[in-house]
Amino acid sequence: MPDLLIELFSEEIPARMQARAAEDLKKRMTDALVEAGLTYGGAAGFATPRRLALAVEGLLATSPTTREERKGPRVDAPEKAIEGFLRGAGVTRDQLEVRDEKKGQVYYATITRPGRPAAEIVAEELEKIIRNFPWPKSMRWGAGSLRWVRPLHSILCILTDEMGEATVVDLEIDGIPAGNTTQGHRFMGEGAFAVSSFDDYRAKLRRDHVVLEAQERADHIWQDAGNQAFAAGLELVEDPGLLAEVSGLVEWPVVLMGQIGEDFLGLPGEVLQTSMREHQKFFSVRNPKTGRIERFVTVANVETADHGATILAGNQKVLSARLSDAKFFWENDLRLVRDKGLAGMAEGLSEVTFHNKLGSQAARIARIEALSRDLAPALGADVDMVGLAATVAKADLQSEMVYEFPELQGLMGRYYAEAEGLAPEIAAACEEHYSPLGPSDAAPTGAVSVAVALADKLDTLTGFWAIDEKPTGSKDPFALRRAGLGVIRIILANDLRLSLGQFVDAQLLRQKITLHRHKASSGEIDTLEEVVEEIADHGVFGAAFHAVMERLKAQDKAPEAGDGSVLNGVETSLPELSVDLLAFLHDRLKVHLRDEGIRHDVIDACLVMPRADDLTLLVKRAQALGAFLGSEDGENLLQGFKRANNILTQAEEKDGVEYSYGADAKFAESDEEKAIFAALDAAEPEIARALEAEDFAAAMAVMAGLRPAVDAFFEAVQINTDNQVLRRNRLNLLNRIRATCLQVADLTRIEG
């Protein structure tokens, strides 16, 4: 059983693509071998900057011979049919066998497919794999047409038998023949060498300064860097992403630790770390006592006669140039903040376009400020502090530091707000208003941060809704789904009680004002601005709009609002946008709650209830219903409801009327009928009290308690009696039961 070794040797493969490529080579080759009938013992893929390799051990030397028996025509069939069969089966007539069957004598052919040597199959499949390799980006070079991630220089492909005898697989792709040679390190290798097996390959690579396994390179870097830091009384700052990348940039890792110039140690640690990681791919080394970053670790690809002194000096010099830039930015930013404050820094934002339809960053900040002020009272935050926080929260976008390192946005805002001496809540809001950015990022909890964070996200959502740039399918270029989930997570994490609809309406209207400011008449904009102010009083846009228009009409100051006017356009489009955006948020909430184990039908039953724009209430209801349905009482509630509802619905459909006229206890005949009136009379105030207190579990417990009375009623009383007065009264009674139960959730939507 031979072993297979493949190496594809090329110019430097991007670090980020190596691991995936090694895995793809392994998967595609082993799948193809198995498909061709070649089973194997084990396989492993490898990648370094200059090579992809695959070792397969215990491969079958030849694929098994297969036999297939095929039934043909009868012996007396027309000649043409028999010839057709021979052609199809690829056999001659004398190879056919005649068997007696019930219907007469029939021809049979046995088709034998002889096994093929492994080398032949490997050659065929490897060529296909190379030609169709799934690189994220590939290229051509020279005058050839082959595509690879970077120019492919050589192919090593050998089969090694049990005696250790290696044979080159006969293969040539675009003028590159497969062979049994490769080379080691670009600078420390001794040139080309031949290999006879995987062990030989691995050992000779190591001799020529190449560590084949990425994990071994990473382990070496991590341990050596950790040891050097420890020896200096320091500790390495963990960075798995950087470690993986650096392991893909070297074949022979040489770890060197260097000093950061004294001048730069006063920079914020995040700035040092970001600059070193992004520009130089350096690890940071921290003083565990002070938490300050004091040194760096770089990983070279070569051992030198001076033990890396020249390399380290060069790296230090480059780092100094980079950090001089960072220090220059930091000092300029601080000077600006001390002179003019963050508000001064934010000035230029009126020149920065947020989106060509949605105006400048300054316009956006003004909208966020207005909304965050609206939100502040409901969050128990100081309105003016929230307003100030909103106006300065994005000022750092104008800082030189964030221009250079966009990933430091928010964090620099916090530093600069602290430098200006702004309240800690405001400094925190500068950083936290972007949160939550992903599943691992927590939602903010400080009231000021919460107000600005919510306003920021709602402004983004309403803005893109207003210009009809909603996410579709896999396309979500403005990360609106993330913004929607952010709104939900902030509300739920803080147990916020907000009628979201009102704030969505107000912000949609602000977006419309931005959009129409230049084409609408000033009277129209003034009117809309009045409406924004009044939405809070009326709860929704529509009512506020009508109130303002009525008042203006009464004063004879109402602008023209006929067809084609901006006012008319806003009046008709805004409520639809608002409903649509809330539905989007509800969809995101469904996804979020499903991940938390709440059934989709339970959520659906709660979404249609009043005040569904209060997400905390909605979730409370859904959680209570979900828990309740799992209990015996829940089963009682559901069955009692369903029984009443089924009979009533059938009758309503048959009669074409809705039985919503109150039932009258005086028509109750039997004790059971009287009992249910009494039970309802007793239950209803209790349910109302529980609902008032938002104690959904208690309300449902009371409803569940009705079941014995309901069951007894159905046992004793025939609903569809001939007496129409009695029948109507009983149907109206069922309606009373149904209506009572529907107060907690739309139980008709519950499955099972």
Binding site: E11, D306, G314
Partner: protein
């Protein structure tokens, strides 16, 4: 005369050694293009010659201008006018990486002491409608060159593929010479009768251009020139290939491409003056790209571009 071994001693010696090295590798030693460009890639010896099927090998120094990088000669590393060294070989030879490493040795970088790395960096020029794959080359953590295999230029697939090397000469020289501020770098041999530093040659011009680029350049004039260059480029290319006077087929690619280069530089100047908004930027870049594409379309209709009657 430039020494051929040991450490170079001046900025110009590094240039001379690169010239000697690449001449020795068979490249045509071109001279800088006589127009203002943002990078060596704009030289027709690269942009246009990377198109079509004809083999090509050229190397040259190209003065490059990036008005927004002006720092009045004060920043140790940033200049609004600097030099690039450019090599273009088509088809890219299989040993191009080795040839490149040879050029580093030629300017005194000892491979036994330094750490040379090829770090992924895909190149794209939105104004030229061009892209390629390759690396930035690091020497001891510093980027010393761009190494690119051109895949597309002016919207045309490159076949064969050109290999392009770009050295940022000031930065590379500062590293090799051990200088911390570009203005302190010896321009000629420090032992020469009249030793000149980079600052002696360029400090004043950096100040002058920084002031003009940022505050003085007449934006209305620049804008008009942009429009004119754009119109002229299109007008030139709209003429029939056959010249009525000589009766010959003469496609006027280079005169049209000069207008494209002009438009590109005028855009850079307008950008430095801060009169182009973020949204307008994309539109301007698109306009220059449209010109570059038309020039590329026309070039492949010429003999140098592989056209055969």
């Amino acid at each position: 005369m430039a020494q051929t071994n040991g450490k170079p001693r001046s900025f110009q010696e590094i240039i001379l050694r690169l010239q000697t090295y690449w001449a020795g590798q068979g490249c045509a030693m071109m001279q800088p293009y006589d127009m203002e460009v943002g990078a060596g890639t704009f030289h027709p010896a690269t942009t246009l010659r990377s198109l079509g099927s004809k083999p090509w090998a050229a190397a040259y120094v190209q003065p490059s201008r990036r008005p927004t990088d002006g720092r009045y000669g004060e920043n140790p590393n940033r200049l609004q006018h600097y030099y690039q060294y450019q090599v273009l070989i088509k088809p890219s030879p299989p040993n191009l990486q080795d040839l490149y490493l040879g050029s580093l040795k030629a300017i005194g970088i000892d491979m036994d002491l330094h750490d040379i790395r090829f770090v992924e960096d895909d190149w794209e020029s939105p104004t030229l409608g061009a892209w390629g794959l390759g690396w930035e080359v690091w020497c001891d953590g510093m980027e010393v060159s761009q190494f690119t295999y051109f895949q597309q230029v002016g919207g045309h697939d490159c076949a064969p593929v050109s290999g392009e090397l770009t050295y940022g000469l000031e930065r590379l020289a500062m590293y090799v010479l051990g200088v911390d501020h570009v203005m302190d770098m010896p321009f000629n041999d420090p032992a020469a009768p009249i030793p000149l530093s980079y600052g002696d040659v360029f400090r004043q011009t950096e100040q002058e251009y920084s002031r003009w680029n940022f505050d003085i350049a007449n934006t209305e004039v620049l804008l008009r020139h942009f429009e004119e260059a754009e119109a002229e480029c299109e007008a030139i290319l709209s003429h029939p290939y056959e010249d009525p006077k000589t009766g010959q087929r003469i496609v006027m690619v280079h005169p049209a491409y000069d207008q494209c280069i002009k438009a590109s530089h005028l855009f850079n100047l307008l950008d430095a003056r801060g009169v182009i908004s973020v949204t307008e930027r994309q539109a301007y870049i698109g306009r220059v790209r449209a010109l570059a594409k038309k020039c590329a379309d026309a070039f492949v209709q010429t003999e140098a571009g592989g056209y055969a009657a």
